[in-house]
Amino acid sequence: MLEVCDLSAAYGGPDVLSGVSLEVKAGETVAVLGANTAGKTTLLRAISGLVPKARGHIAFEGTALLGRPAHAIPDLGIGHVPEGRHVFPRMSTLDNLLMGAFCHRDARDLTERIERVFKLFPRVKERQTQMAGLMSGGEQQMISIGRALMGTPKLLLLDEPSHGLAPLVVDELHVAIGEINRQGVSVLLVEQNAMLALSVAHRGYVLEAGHVVLSGTSDELSADPGVRRAYLGI
């Protein structure tokens, strides 16, 4: 479904990604792990067309993505939940969700799509008229994911969804991500929280300083002492 081949990227300075290759198959959840500056976020941004200087090859269902304007990518069926959530702070929850369907603004089933999001995140429904910027981090994360789902993506890019959230909320999200995947959406999940990510994902890649250093199924990676060492130094 998604194929990334020999991807390199830089923001003016030295390469942040160099020669990264990975793939996501239909129906899969794939985790990308790595330390803070390993290049995980850049990888997702490159897929979404936000890194103008990316080189290499990215294909989604056979369509080449590099060189395509960023705003034309969601329409292909890729939803991106950015790091730091990036909800529209001075819009209501409902307007935030509606913006997610911007590519499909003429679609008739908008109410149904909203209902589906509400079903996934009942808490969002309770607070649908509130300004998104005033809500808690967890709620914002749910809005951000819900917004991406409004575009009925085939592939969902999730960038650090558990970042800075309380454990209970992380649990909730974790369940939701599994549910989304079960509904047939492929997921590419970037996480620092390695164990959480691997517990949801089928497979995973470990990035270090812009390179893929390890890859394998979730079980393989969970058992790998290298992963533990990379995170805790033990």
Partner: protein, 246 residues
């Protein structure tokens, strides 16, 4: 009081959100203390609060027994505490030596500051790139130059915010060697670092934070074995059933 740096129940609130919530700790002369915690735990906010970039909502910071909370950062620097920035906030239109000279002006006239800057660069092994434009530096070089700039203010306590991010293992070893050398001269450090390997090897003590609160403190081994810390890092499930979260 023996402690060189003392944080006493410091709190920082951003519009209702408690980013730092009653954190207390001390740093003694010649100590290297590590500050660890997942992203968004409040580490950088703690640093900013210590040096005066971020006003405290409550609590105190004392340096050498003297209260420094409430002072502007340049006054704190004059008292002997400064920090580096997470993404190397160098002055981009200046050369390396100019960057360092600017900071050395805190305690020297222009001529003295130049001499001081050269000495600091020499000490960090950066004299080869003294005349280079900072825009042309690699990331590790930038981190070192920023450390040099901070050292040029002749601090007693230096706060390092992820200087080793994106360094290779051998580069990391070099930087750690430099830090140890400086400690031998009596300088104290508080370091935020993601590379646990470096932190474990470098620090005398660790402070672990999450959600703006202190989770644990103690020797690196103690802290690394603390179930709460492991959970904060790896997510629960990683430590098994015994780690029921509170």
């Amino acid at each position: 009081m023996g402690a060189l740096l003392e944080a006493d129940a410091i709190c920082v609130t951003f519009g209702g959100l408690r980013a730092v919530d009653g954190v207390s700790f001390t740093v003694n002369a010649g100590e290297i203390i590590g500050l660890i915690g997942p992203n968004g735990a409040g580490k950088t906010t703690i640093f900013n609060a210590l040096v005066g970039l971020q006003p405290l909502t409550s609590g105190f910071v004392r340096l050498g027994g003297e209260r420094v909370s409430g002072l502007k950062p340049h006054r704190v620097a004059q008292k002997g505490m400064t920090k580096t920035f997470q993404n190397a906030a160098l002055f981009p239109d200046m050369s390396v030596v100019e960057n360092v000279t600017t900071a050395a002006l805190l305690r020297h006239d222009l001529h003295g500051a130049r001499t001081k800057a050269e000495a600091v660069l020499e000490k960090l092994g950066l004299n080869g790139i003294a005349q280079a434009d900072v825009a042309d530096l690699t990331f590790p070089q930038k981190a070192l130059v920023e450390m040099a700039r901070a050292l040029a203010t002749e601090p007693r306590v230096l706060l390092l915010d992820e200087v080793m991010a994106a360094l290779t293992h051998s580069e990391m070893d070099e930087v750690m060697e430099v830090i140890r050398g400086l400690r031998a001269e009596g300088l104290s450090f508080l370091v935020v670092e993601h590379h646990m390997r470096a932190i474990m090897a470098l620090c005398d003590k660790l402070l672990a934070v999450n959600f703006g609160r202190l989770l644990a403190h103690g020797t690196p081994a103690e802290v690394a074995a603390n179930p709460q810390v492991i959970e904060a890092y790896l997510g629960h499930g990683a430590v098994g059933k015994e780690a029921a979260h509170a």
